[in-house]
Each structure stands twice: as structure tokens, then as C-alpha cells.
């Protein structure tokens, strides 16, 4: 239950098994059945979810009822709604479980609380934040300037196995293209590569 998050910390901080165990001993896991909504617009959440097993999705629904997926969070990803977890303002997004999912609940104050035990944790948190900004910058640029094929090729690099785990329309929603365009992209790739 805690092992994946302990490995996650150990890979990023030079700490011992014991430190990793002690640091995570206060964390609790929670399981959600496929389809469960973990966060609704208007909710306040002071926690992050680290995914042990399964898959979460972070998305909005526009006035016409169309879903727009901002992020998928498979195993070893951390997901949170910054608006509510950092700024204490009601969320404007949804999080739901696309598969049966087990998460570790990581409270926002966790990174502050365990500083004594893991002195470099704040640096790690800052690096994770920068990484997240880098990811967003790239994502914005792809949405503004890349072709459907380029977006798809970038997607399969980032999330190689999600094509086997989520329906096409969700991938299209994430890429900001229609399911028909995604089909065309895949068809064109098959024409190029299928022997």
C-alpha cells in the first residue's frame, strides 16, 4: 500500500528505507470504484492523490455538457486540484476514477510536516512543481500549435499504455481534437507503418 510512494520518494531523495517508512507511516490509502467522482466543482480539498493502482482523470464540463480532460493520472502519478489544495478556493474541476483505483491520500501539509525527517523534501516539492509547470507549458504549446498527429505522438510517449486503458473519445478530449480526427490520425499511422 505504501511501497510505491516510498519507492517514489527513494528514487528522488537519497534516503534510507527506514526514513521512507517513517515519513509515510501517517498516510492512509483509499479505494474508489470505477466511475466514482472524487472531486466536484465547488469542493474544497486539501489533499493530493498519489495513485497506487488504477487511473484518475482531471476534467471540466463546459456549458454544452462537453468534457475536456486536462490530465490523466495513472500509477505513480500525483494529482491535486491546486485551486482548492493551495489557495483554499472552491474547485472548478472534476476528478473521477476511470478504473477501480487505490490512492494514497497525501495531505498538502505533508511536505511541510516531514521536513525534519526529510530535509530535502521541500526541494523535491519545488522540483515537482517546476516539472508540473514544464508539463503545462508543453501542453499549452501543443494545444496552440501542434497538428493532431503531433499531439497524439506526444501523448503516446507520455502515456504509452493509456491507449489500451481509456476509450478513444477520452484521448481525443485530452488532445483537444474530435474522435474522428483521432481515428484519421491512427488510420494514417497504420497506412505508414503497417506491413
Amino acid at each position: 500500500m505504501l511501497e510505491k510512494f516510498q519507492s517514489y520518494l527513494k528514487e528522488r531523495l537519497s534516503i534510507t528505507d527506514e526514513q521512507a517508512k517513517e515519513a509515510t507511516s501517517c498516510l492512509k490509502s483509499k479505494t474508489f470504484k470505477k466511475g466514482t467522482v472524487l472531486l466536484n466543482p465547488g469542493d474544497l480539498r486539501s489533499e493530493n492523490y498519489f495513485i497506487n493502482e488504477g487511473l484518475l482523470r482531471y476534467f471540466s464540463i463546459d456549458e454544452k455538457g462537453k468534457e475536456h480532460i486536462l490530465q490523466f493520472a495513472p500509477e505513480n502519478w500525483m494529482i491535486s486540484d491546486r485551486n482548492s489544495s493551495v489557495f483554499n478556493e472552491p474547485s472548478i474541476f472534476f476528478i473521477d476514477a476511470i478504473e477501480n483505483t487505490e490512492v494514497l491520500i497525501v495531505p498538502s501539509h505533508f511536505f511541510v510536516d516531514i521536513q525534519k525527517l526529510l530535509p530535502h523534501i521541500l526541494e523535491l516539492n519545488i522540483m515537482m512543481l517546476h516539472n508540473s509547470i514544464r508539463f503545462m507549458q508543453k501542453r499549452i504549446n501543443m494545444l496552440l500549435s501542434a497538428t493532431a498527429e503531433e499531439r497524439y505522438l506526444d501523448f503516446i510517449k507520455l502515456y504509452p499504455n493509456l491507449t489500451l486503458r481509456v476509450p478513444q473519445w477520452m484521448i481525443a478530449s485530452y488532445l483537444g481534437i474530435t474522435p474522428e480526427s483521432l481515428s484519421r490520425v491512427r488510420k494514417d499511422l497504420a497506412k505508414k507503418h503497417f506491413k
Binding site: I156, P160, L164, R165, K187, K191, F194
Partner: protein
């Protein structure tokens, strides 16, 4: 002197789960029970279930396979399928579809249109038959075995018949060609009929009671929807139908190679799974319209 294969366990179907929205399956292995069934990797059993009439076709959309064969045996209901090699057809009760995914294929499976509109009873088995490493990347192929093309061995005294899908029963040769030695039969037995099935001791062996109830080796009883799993002792199984019964018998020589599995891919090494995912994502499995 041949001896009976010992019964390892009589297994109840595990809790069902949906595959797409068209198949409500009990997995007997590998997730339902951890039993030794190599060369068979997976058995999903869609126990009898009623589907209501609908205009929307229930089923599973386009998905890939690599490294093994899917064998679909229909007992009730009808499934239409299409694959990226251009094959398509309908599997009706008594038919078998033996699809060798090997190097890679995309396919989709839906309830057949008329069946969907009328609704009705649905009952099927899907088996995943592993391929030896040297055939995993061979060219995909497809054997559509309509019931009238499946070899049948008539039992004496109007006792019923044995449909020999693969292997050989008392001189009746199975209709499907296989990459490794496999015995796969559907037994349709009248009340009181006794049969002896034979397969070498080292073959991994089980049977599933599709209809009715049977006694096995004169000692144990198995009822509808139960699986009987055998140990690797002995070479014979005695079956007696306690009522009119339908039984699926599967027995195969183990391949005994390492297994790496992810989703719809069944390979030998983790890096081959990575390759399969990459090949699927980049269109190397071809294309099939949703």
C-alpha cells in the same frame, strides 16, 4: 495400465465482471484461480444470462492482441466480429472461432444484430491459447469453424456426441489446427452416458460443465457452471452424465516458457510487451474502424 487423473479441485465460477458491455464473464483462470493450465492462459466463461432486446449493439470495441490465440466457443446467442486482416463473420451456437493473433491483429466483437434486437439467452467461452516463442510473431490467421464443419464422434446407444474442436477422440480428428498439442472437445451427453477421455499425464487439464451435471471418475459430482481441474497424475477421466449435459473438455501439453502479459498482449519478456504497446500505438497492427 492407465490410471485416472486425480481431481485437484472443483471450482465455482469467480465473481463476474463485464468485458465491454456485451460479455458478463466469470474468469476461471488466471485471475479467478491460480491453477496450472499452460498452454491455456485464460478462460472467461460467460455463464447463461438473458440480454434484453436493444437497438444498440453490445460488445467490445476495437482492441489488439499479440502473442497468442483467442478461441471463442458459442453455446447460446450470437456474436459478430471483424478484424484488421479483413475477416468477419458471426459465431452462432455450436460454432467456434479460432483466431491466431500471433504478430498482431485488431478486432472487435459485438452481439449479432438480430440477436441484439430480439434479446435472449447468451452463453459463451473464450479461451486464450498461448503460442510458443517461435510462433508468437508469425502471421495472424483465422479459422472459422461453423458447427457443421466441426468433427463429431457419435457415442453408442444414442448416448450423445463429442464435438472434437481440436485434438483427436477415438480416431475422430479435431477440426482446428493448433501450434502445440491440444485436446478441446464439447461433450453433449444424454442422461446416464459414460465416456472415458484420455490425455497424457503431463497435459494440463480441466473441464467446465456448461449444462447439466456429471460425475467424474465415479467419485465426485460437478454441477452446471463448475470447473473440474485435474492434477498431472494419470491419463484418463471417466465422466457420467447425471442428466442431459454439455461439458467443455480442455487439455494441452504445457509450453513451459516464460510469460510476460499486459492487457491484450501475451509475450515472453517485458521488453516484448513494451514493443507491442509501441507497435499498437504507432499503427503497426493495422487499422480497424470502430
Amino acid at each position: 495400465m492407465p490410471t485416472f487423473k486425480k481431481i485437484a479441485a472443483i471450482l465455482n465460477p469467480a465473481a463476474p465482471h463485464m468485458v465491454g458491455d456485451g460479455f458478463r464473464v466469470h474468469n476461471f483462470f488466471p485471475s479467478g484461480y491460480k491453477i496450472k493450465m499452460d498452454p491455456f492462459y485464460l478462460l472467461d466463461y460467460n455463464a447463461k444470462i438473458e440480454f434484453s432486446p436493444t437497438n444498440k449493439l453490445r460488445g467490445v470495441g476495437v482492441h489488439p492482441h499479440r502473442g497468442f490465440e483467442t478461441v471463442t466457443i458459442a453455446y447460446q446467442g450470437a456474436v459478430a466480429h471483424h478484424d484488421s486482416a479483413g475477416n468477419s463473420g458471426v459465431i452462432y451456437p455450436g460454432d467456434v472461432q479460432w483466431m491466431t493473433a500471433a504478430s498482431g491483429i485488431l478486432h472487435k466483437e459485438y452481439h449479432e444484430e438480430n440477436f441484439s434486437k430480439k434479446g435472449g439467452t447468451f452463453q459463451m467461452v473464450q479461451l486464450w491459447v498461448n503460442l510458443p516463442a517461435k510462433y508468437k510473431m508469425s502471421t495472424p490467421k483465422y479459422q472459422a469453424l461453423a458447427n457443421n464443419n466441426i468433427a463429431k464422434h457419435k457415442l453408442p446407444n444414442n448416448g450423445g456426441l463429442i464435438e472434437v474442436i481440436a485434438g483427436e477422440y477415438l480416431g475422430t480428428k479435431g477440426s482446428a489446427s493448433t501450434f502445440t498439442p491440444i485436446e478441446l472437445y464439447t461433450l453433449k451427453l444424454k442422461t446416464g452416458t459414460k465416456v472415458i477421455l484420455t490425455s497424457p499425464a503431463n497435459y494440463n487439464t480441466a473441464l467446465v460443465v456448461i449444462e447439466g451435471s456429471i460425475s467424474v471418475n465415479d467419485t465426485e459430482q460437478a454441477a452446471t457452471n463448475q470447473m473440474v481441474h485435474f492434477t498431472n497424475d494419470g491419463s484418463e477421466i471417466a465422466i457420467e452424465a447425471k442428466e442431459d449435459s454439455v461439458v467443455l473438455f480442455l487439455s494441452g501439453e504445457p509450453i513451459n516458457e516464460p510469460i510476460a502479459q499486459y492487457g491484450p498482449f501475451l509475450m515472453n519478456k517485458p521488453e516484448e510487451l513494451q514493443q507491442a504497446i509501441e507497435d499498437y500505438n504507432t499503427g503497426k497492427f493495422g487499422y480497424l474502424e470502430e
